[in-house]
């Protein structure tokens, strides 16, 4: 199955893209996806990151499903 991972601002400029398709097995958690992504992109690890699943802040325990929209981003700086 495939989940979509979005990047914004700082993470988009580190990763060099705004969107990745990530293939994983049924039953994996958001944390699993997150950790795999950091292994593949160690340059992200210097940041303090937040994770969302389907446009909600995630704890990481969420089991991801096919088509889910994840996002990885740094502490927000709007306002």
């Amino acid at each position: 199955m495939i989940v979509k991972i979005l990047f914004f601002g700082p993470t988009a400029s580190i990763i060099g893209t705004r969107c990745l398709d990530f293939e994983c097995r049924e039953g994996e958690t958001a944390d699993y996806v997150y950790n795999r992504l950091l292994e593949d992109n160690p340059q992200l690890a210097a940041q303090k990151l937040h994770l969302s699943v389907n446009q909600q802040y995630a704890t990481g325990d969420e089991v991801v499903r096919d088509g889910d929209e994840l996002a990885i981003f740094t502490a927000v700086s709007g306002g």
């Binding site: 979005l6 601002g9 700082p10 969302s52 704890t59 740094t74 502490a75 709007g78 306002g79």
Partner: protein
Amino acid sequence: MDFSEITTETIDLTSVARRVVPPECGATVTLDGYVRQFTKDRETLYLEYEAYEPMALKEMQKLIEQAKREFEISHVGIVHRIGKLDIGETSVVISVAAPHRKAAFAACECLIRELKRTVPIWKKEVYADGEEWIEGDAEKLAEP
């Protein structure tokens, strides 16, 4: 009427403040954030804001609901601008209408603090000699 919006256009303070006014209310408190020319002596040429738009709108809506539970207020309007902003342009406006101004002040202060902590929008400062994505200090949000 409550509303939360993200726009790439100029934000007009008056029209935001006016949209939250119900007939029984007496005061509106409005926070107007704008692009600073200097941050620690370094001159900013302009800013760029980027949003995770659908999530940002959801988070703004949550903030409004929370504020209305916590404070005796009538209506809240939040408008955040994204894209390129010149010095002095308004990046965010939060207007809170309430029967008593004390609640409007408290709610407006709480809303801008929470917006800066939770709403997924990022700011890039562009200087004469480079640019930099600004990281927030949202230490209170759970990290994965």
